[in-house]
């Protein structure tokens, strides 16, 4: 079975004392996993480590067969651009830009010609219910903004999508819609999904739910 994410003997410690240790974790390309745990337990840190945005002290992380822990600098950025899509609790869209432009940013860094951006971004936005891709993101509702963020995470056809509490800022209706769309499109695009949440209400939407404290040993819970 092809793996989207493989973590082995990972150890990461912050200077202030918090540390995470994960012996072994893997996620296959067709899997959708909910990583559940209370706020501040280290779920976000794990996702940042997995995306190569934090440096592990030891261990190995592979993204679709490529080690991101061995890669440095531009090569690591290239692996991330090619294989990872990220959705955050806050949408983190670029203000002042249109929905299309926001979705096109990963294409730009992925080396896709600007002339092709609209043809790739617009159908995906439409699929997520954003009918006008030329609308500025600051004019969209919070739910719509999160859907643009989902489109941005998936536009580069990543091997895995890391969604860090993507529903925390949404009302229950929008939250359900966002999770549902995220799952659907990940499946359509053959992307694995690792979604973190402290909301027990989401557990029913996932066939595989992992509790963070069962996955990782932490020396101290973040405040």
């Amino acid at each position: 079975m092809q793996l989207a994410l493989k973590i082995r003997d990972l150890r990461f410690a912050r200077p202030e004392g918090f540390s995470i240790t994960i012996r072994d974790f893997s996620l296959s390309v067709d899997e959708q996993v909910l990583l559940a745990g209370p706020s501040g337990c280290g779920k976000s840190t794990l996702l940042l480590l997995a995306a190569g945005l934090l440096d592990a002290d030891s261990g190995e992380i592979e993204l679709a067969g490529k080690s991101i822990t061995d890669a440095r600098g531009g090569r690591r950025d290239a692996i991330r651009a090619d294989r990872v899509g990220m959705v955050f609790q806050t949408h983190h869209l670029l203000p002042g830009f249109t929905a299309r432009e926001n979705v096109s940013v990963p294409l730009l860094f992925g080396g896709i010609r600007p002339a092709e951006h609209a043809a790739i971004a617009d159908p995906l936005l439409a699929r997520l219910g954003i009918s006008d891709p030329s609308v500025r993101v600051d004019r969209l509702s919070v739910g719509q903004q999160q859907r643009v963020a989902i489109a941005r995470a998936l536009v580069g056809n990543p091997a895995v999508v890391f969604a860090d509490e993507p529903t925390a800022a949404l009302d229950p209706e929008n939250a359900a819609t966002a999770v549902s769309l995220l799952k659907e499109i990940c499946r359509e695009r053959n992307a694995a999904l690792l979604l973190t949440s402290h909301d027990p209400g989401l557990e029913s939407a996932f066939s595989r739910v992992i509790r963070f404290d069962e996955l990782a040993q932490t020396s101290e819970v973040l405040g």
Binding site: T45, L48, A51, L53, L54, G73, G74, D77, A78, R80, A81, D82, M86, F88, Q89, T90, H92, L94, P95, G96, F97, R100, E101, S104, V105, P106, L107, L108, F109, G110, P114, H117, R152, G156, E165, A168, A169
Partner: protein, 467 residues
Amino acid sequence: MTDLRLILKSLMARAASTAVTCLLIAIAVALLLSMLSLREAGRRSFTRGVGNAHLVVSGDSSPLVAVLNGLFYANPPRAALPESKVIEITTSFPWAWAIPTQLGDSFRGFPVIATTPQFLEDFEPAPGEPWVFSQGRNIERPFEVVLASGVAAATGLGIGDRLHLTHGIGVGGSPPPSAPVTEPSLVASVPGPEVEDLVEEDPADHGHGHDHGHVHADDGEHVHDEVIFEVVGVLAPSGTHHDRLVVTELQGAWFIHAIDRRELAGRAAPGSVEQLEEADRLITGILLRTPVRAGRNSAAALQGAFDRLRRDPSITVASPSTQVDRLFGIVASLDAVFIALGAGILLSGVISVMLVLWNSMELRRRQIAVLRVLGCPQRRILGLVLTESAIIGMIGAIAGGLLAVGGASLAAGLLAIRTGVVVSPTVDPKAAVLIAAGTVALAALAGVAPAIKAYRTPVADNLRPLD
């Protein structure tokens, strides 16, 4: 989406600080370009404005002053030359032409040159470009005037209009009480007009205290309202400071000053130009040209003539082109000060680019972190900030260039109005490209520190949820 779009949006998001920074750079670039442009244009204009005169002779204290007074009409010459000296000089050498001039009067702030008709025939206001009459004819008799184009345009006077001259060279501006007269012309009585025909009663004028022992002092002004002059010709523009001249016949100018002089001495005023005495026949300068071969503007004999005249201690002889070079040599250090000032402003503009970008990095940490998450390599972040900085420099340089063209034209216009020095400012393309490229490079350099700050932005720390 393109890198450029990312940069431009970022600039537009901080429109006010971007505009102020660009403006600072634009002002510096404009100042530098204007200085260079006006310096060159000024030099060209002065060099051109000496016309085809090879030498200027006057009673001034120095050759530079002789040229500034005699050819650029800066001030009335302090001392006059008697007619005998003029005859001696003009006959001492086979000049191509020798034109006596008397300066010291003005009309509405425009300098009046009293001379012979030869001034409008042989003297060329710019080398190779003789005077052209747009209307009327040359001066032929006393009390006739020809207006240069600038005077005609400014005063609205034309052929047949009459005017009084003012003693002293004014600074321009409001018309003195010697505005054109409406009385019937008395010019018909010349040559040899009778005193009672020419002199107008003006008891207020009798008490003036000007020292007419000197030909022309540059202190106060007074109106020669005893005699009316008539416009007989208007000149076409020459594109030089000579376009501010009022040209009149020498004997008429001698006549009005003779009236003043004799009145002061308690003597009867002269009845006609034929009654002028040698003491009245004073001139303030001579324009000289040595014979030259066709197509050339200098003669081998010039140096010899110059050296011979220079041995006469009672006169000052000057080569206009040499004196213009000297003048620009003197003001060169002032140019350097202005250029240093422009460079200083440019430097402060560049520093402000750095500060603005540095501060904006604080506000853009989250955006930079998001770009990194989306696959933007660190070195590309570095490039984006450096390009942004260079674009500010480029916008500033372009705006500065436009400002320089407008500013230099404005300065040239003001210079023409105030001093009569006509300059055509043109920005040297080589200097413009050099300054623009330097500005862009400096601005890019100013972006290095902010770019490094952006390069080092920690990603994970800046992706915390917004409140």
